[in-house]
């Protein structure tokens, strides 16, 4: 059983913990591809977590609660877009303000509604049920790793694959990438840049909210203040590390989730410091950033060296003035 703890259970709890990261990072990837740096993933996730559990409580149905959370997440994404596009608010300041606002407002509303508490839950709230995927679950180890989660986990994988297809093989996705890379090119061809960016931000808001809902009614069934606890920032990093690519994000998100799972596991089983494991993906991201930059630089240096060699050999055909 001990051995199991370190293998199958670890991998599957890594997948579980990775779910909100993957979803939010995918949202971040959509925004980044549309040329919007979205640092408000944390706030949007937190909103999703809070709204999901409150709506579940009032509606008496977990799925309905999640649905409301996703809708409100989309609405927050729309607000974000509105402030950014209409009033040209600096994206970073806007994101930080939204993170702070949601962080405080959720606790404020929780306390106004449910009394002076730091975390809240109600026995009536049903956690989202896990289910096995029929054929997959019967395969020995693979079945244990890939099956037995609630639908949000499966959805996060599906969302990444669909996200990839949308971004790279659909008309909408091509417009997103065109807007992100050269806004004016898209604009002069009659693409509605504003609409594309708004859609990307609304999608991001919905995905983040779903990730948040996973925390409050999927993984646990309670809400605590600042429940997302930096996972949104982890998602920002995972998005960078995954190069704003939906499939890359799936992998890096899992990497981060696995590190979290490992940290939790180590804490329970041994006395070893858990946080050092969590540092690993962060350092990996920093290293990836530096490596990419170094590669760019090396490429430039290569072009320059080639040019200098030609120069030395006198191979440059210098155009004669006045021809």
């Amino acid at each position: 059983m001990e051995g199991d703890l370190f293998t199958v259970a670890l991998l599957s709890s890594g997948l579980r913990l990775a779910t909100p990261i993957i979803l939010a990072a995918l949202g971040g990837a959509f925004c980044a591809r549309a040329g919007v740096l979205n640092l408000a993933l944390e706030g949007k996730m937190l909103l999703g977590a809070f709204v999901a559990i409150v709506a579940t409580f009032y509606l008496g149905n977990t799925l309905a609660g999640i649905f409301v959370a996703v809708l409100l997440g989309g609405l927050l994404g729309y607000m974000f877009a509105f402030f950014y596009l209409k009033y040209e608010v600096n994206l970073i300041i806007l994101a930080l303000a939204i993170n702070l606002l949601i962080g405080e407002l959720t606790v404020y509303v929780m306390r106004v509604l449910f009394g002076n508490v730091g975390s809240w839950s109600d026995p009536s709230i049903q956690r989202l049920p896990d289910f096995e995927i029929p054929l997959l679950s019967s395969i020995p180890i693979v079945g244990d790793i890939l099956s037995g989660y609630n639908f949000i986990v499966y959805f996060s994988w599906l969302a990444c694959i669909v996200g990839y297809i949308v971004l790279f093989h659909s008309k909408f996705g091509r417009h997103i990438r065109a807007v992100g890379e050269n806004k004016q090119a898209a604009e002069t061809l009659g693409i509605n840049v504003r609409r594309v960016q708004v859609s990307a931000m609304v999608i991001a808001g919905m995905l983040c909210a779903l990730g948040g809902a996973f925390l409050s009614v999927g993984h646990l069934s309670l809400f605590t203040r600042n429940m997302s606890n930096g996972l949104g920032w982890v998602a920002v990093t995972a998005n960078i590390f995954g190069f704003q690519h939906p499939l890359g994000v799936l992998l890096t998100g899992y990497f981060f989730g696995l590190a979290e799972a490992f940290a939790v596991r180590i804490q329970n089983v041994t006395d070893l410091p858990p946080n050092l494991i969590q540092l690993l993906p962060q350092f990996a991201t920093l290293a990836a950033l530096i490596l990419v930059a170094l590669r760019e630089k090396a490429n430039l240096a290569l072009i320059r060296r080639r040019f200098r060699r030609q120069l030395a050999r006198g191979e440059m055909q210098t155009p004669v003035a006045g021809d």
């Binding site: 608010v89 303000a97 993170n99 606002l101 960078i240 946080n275 950033l289």
Partner: protein, 371 residues
């Protein structure tokens, strides 16, 4: 032309003011949900945040104490922004500064004042280096400083958690704390009942120093020129890269100092949640303060007062959750960042007023000028 200039000046003050008022209006709506009168609540908030019933029970001193780290992290953001670097690494630099102070606070054995000074200098160097790294990465490898500082914030905070939980842990109790620092390392306190003391004086000195550095010194001039127009600076023979890196180092040092003062002036030890968003709040202070040291000074006190007032006045006296304070602050940042909303509104009103008085519109004036 001169008119335009005057309008710009007016907007510098009018926009933050309108933003603050808008924030309060939304807050009033939120207060109404709790069946309290907004006016009573604001009075309570003001009394608890900025009031002073007697010298011993003066809430305002606590506000000043809490404004100290905000001022320093705000200044940190100002210096970075003014050199053209959008650094949001205050959080991480603050954490490392605090960690340095917490460790040196008990690890060193020095005479009173010297001990505190050594700690602060060490924290500034550590924070400075932590700011210098993204600066170098930006200048040498052109890696976006926003991204590197985000990642480095995460790293610093995780490192702090590790240090508090393991190497620096005081005892194996339920919550992890670092050992309490030596008496020699503590900063002087002016008023018993609050931790208002030397730390605040240092922060005010830093406000003045940053102002003189940026607007009166040659390196500061270089930095501002590089930040406002890098091509212009290059054209004028200013070393942009050096200016940016220097700005990042100073910015990091100020955030590190904030962390150190928070430890040796207020808490005397650290736990694993020691950097509770202070870095980001500092950033907001800088924005609302129009990226100017004096603005930072005022806004830091405003933020600290609103936070304290919400905690003591609203939560304890009226039962309104203290998170209202943070909500109001977030709204103010949002509104001040939406500057265009107000400037558009203001110039729209001006146009209408001019039209009402029978003056000509800008287009008409321009056409006449050309003729």
């Amino acid at each position: 032309m001169d008119n335009y200039h005057r309008q710009q000046r007016v907007n510098t003050f009018l926009v933050p003011l309108l933003a603050v008022i808008s924030g309060l209006v939304v807050a009033a709506v939120l207060i109404i949900f709790t069946d309290n009168s907004p006016f009573a609540a604001f009075e309570e908030l003001f009394k608890a945040g900025f009031g002073c019933s007697s010298l011993n029970r003066c809430a305002f001193f606590t506000t000043l104490e809490r404004a100290t780290p905000l001022m320093l992290t705000g200044l940190s953001a100002v210096v970075a922004f003014r050199s053209g670097m959008f650094s949001i690494g205050q959080e991480g630099q603050f954490a490392l500064g605090a960690l340095t102070a917490a460790w040196l606070g008990f690890a060193l054995d020095l005479p009173p004042v010297v001990h505190a000074i050594v700690i602060m200098l060490a924290a500034m160097v550590i924070g400075g280096i932590y700011g210098w790294i993204p600066g170098v990465l930006k200048v040498k490898l052109n890696i976006n400083e926003v991204i590197t500082t985000i990642v480095m914030n995460e790293i610093a905070v995780l490192f702090l958690v590790y240090m508090v939980n393991f190497p620096l842990r005081a005892d194996r109790g339920t919550t992890a704390y670092s050992p309490v620092i030596d008496e020699t390392a503590k900063l002087m306190i002016f008023m018993p009942g609050s931790k208002w003391g030397m730390g605040f004086v240092i922060a005010v000195a830093a406000v003045l120093a940053v102002y003189f550095y940026l607007w009166r010194s040659a390196p500061g001039y270089e930095q501002r020129m590089a930040g406002q127009s890098s091509l212009f600076a290059l054209f004028g023979g200013i070393r942009n890269d050096r200016a940016a890196i220097r700005g990042m180092f100073i910015s990091g040092a100020l955030a590190g100092l904030a962390g150190a003062i928070e430890v040796i002036g207020v808490h005397y030890r650290i736990n694993q949640d020691f950097a509770p968003g202070l870095g980001f709040t500092g950033l907001s202070v800088a924005i609302l303060g129009q990226v100017h040291p004096f603005g930072v000074f005022l806004v830091a006190i405003l933020f600290a007062g609103v936070g304290l007032g919400a905690q003591l006045g609203l939560q304890i006296n009226l039962g309104i959750p203290r998170e209202l304070g943070g909500t109001v602050i977030a709204l103010m940042i949002l509104f001040v960042a939406a500057e265009k909303f107000y400037t558009d509104g203001i110039s729209g009103l001006r146009e209408r007023w001019a039209h009402f008085r029978g003056q000509k519109t800008a287009v008409e004036l321009a056409m006449e000028e050309k003729k």
